[in-house]
Every structure is written in C-alpha cells, then in structure tokens.
Amino acid sequence: MEEIIIDIDESGEISVETRGFRGKACLEESQFVKDLLGHELFRQLTPAYYITEKIKTKKYLKLCG
C-alpha cells in the first residue's frame, strides 16, 4: 500500500514521509502536499527510493539455423 504520512508536532513543525512507493514516484506523489503547506527545508532519500520496478525480459534460444 502507498502512503503519504504527515506529522505535525505541537510547535507546528511538519514532516512528510512516503511509504510503499518505488523510485521517484514518492517525490511526485507527495509534491502536492509540500506545495500546499509551504516549502521544503530538508529531504532525505532512503534505500527504498532507489528500488526500481522489476523489468521482465524474455530470452529466445535459437533452435535451428
């Protein structure tokens, strides 16, 4: 499941996290929240950000000729 999580503490500090996205989609999907609220001060990308979709490839063996 893909989630955007917004935490707002008692002093008004806001952090935005994305979970369940693969690759750059998390930045695209959460941009509307950032635009809505103000501007981004800091961003940290985690290893999940660099995971790409698995691409299926088919290999054909030449049987003759």
């Binding site: 499941m1 999580i5 008692e10 952090s15 935005v16 994305t18 998390c26 961003r43 990308l45």
Partner: protein, 141 residues
C-alpha cells in the same frame, strides 16, 4: 512493514484563509474577518523577536483577528506577499498556553484541515490520529 522511501521537513506558509478559519473553529477560537486591530500591550518592548517581514510600526494592525475565549490579548492575521502572518503578544500567559509555542497549535490545526480537504479532492482516503508529539495524517490511495 512498508518501506519508507523519503522524509522531508516543511516550513509552513499560511496561504489559505478558509483553512485558517476552519482551524479556529476546530480549536474553539473566534475568527473575526476584517478586524483591523488586535488587542496587545500597545507598544513593542523588545521582549520577543519581530516576525520576519514585520516592522515594529506594523504591530497592532491586521487584516483579520482571532479571539480566544478567556484571553485578554488577541491574534492579528496580516496578509503579506500572498501569505498570512500571525501576530500576537506572548505576554498573555493564557494566550501562550492556548496557541502553544510559536502558535504551533494553530499551525497544527491549519495543516490538518487543509491537508484533509485537499487530499480528499485528489482521491486520497484520509486518516487522522493523535500521537505523543502532535497529529499524524495518513493519506492512502
């Protein structure tokens, strides 16, 4: 466990007056549109830093105001560069308690109201819960 892909810190800019009004309703505060002054000590004595972009001559004047039950002083809402700046005199301890450090409680309610409304328009389901540190909003598609 769902993989965390990135974390961002956001500096809040209050741009939507409707969401600020909803935030006041949520907190039991009264938003008074077009009230041009707000109640405070009356002159700046340097006991707290001036908000960015505000001079001491501008204190006491506003475009709208927020009244908080039980508080003598009020909050001024000033429109500047398409954003709204909140002004208040933190000498009033009841006001300080009601709005939290740096008006964090108002900012929290504003963020929650704005995100809930706009995220639903974009087709997200929205969950809101209280946490130890504040409020958590979870958007799911």
């Amino acid at each position: 466990m769902i993989n965390l892909s990135h974390i961002s810190k956001i500096e809040l800019e209050i741009k939507y007056l409707d969401a600020l009004i909803y935030a006041c309703n949520r907190l039991g505060f009264e938003f008074v549109e077009n009230q041009n002054t707000y109640r405070w000590y009356g002159r700046w004595v340097g006991d707290s830093p001036l908000p960015e972009g505000i001079s001491k001559d501008e204190l006491g004047r506003c475009d709208h105001a927020i009244k908080i039950p039980g508080c003598t002083y009020e909050i001024g809402v000033v429109k500047k560069n398409n954003m709204y700046i909140l002004l208040w005199d933190s000498w009033d301890s009841k006001l300080r308690l009601a709005i939290g450090h740096n008006a964090g409680i108002i900012k929290q309610a504003y963020t929650a109201e704005l995100v809930r409304y706009k995220a639903r328009l974009k087709g997200y389901s929205v969950l809101e819960k209280k946490t130890q540190k504040g409020i958590r909003i979870v958007l799911q598609k």
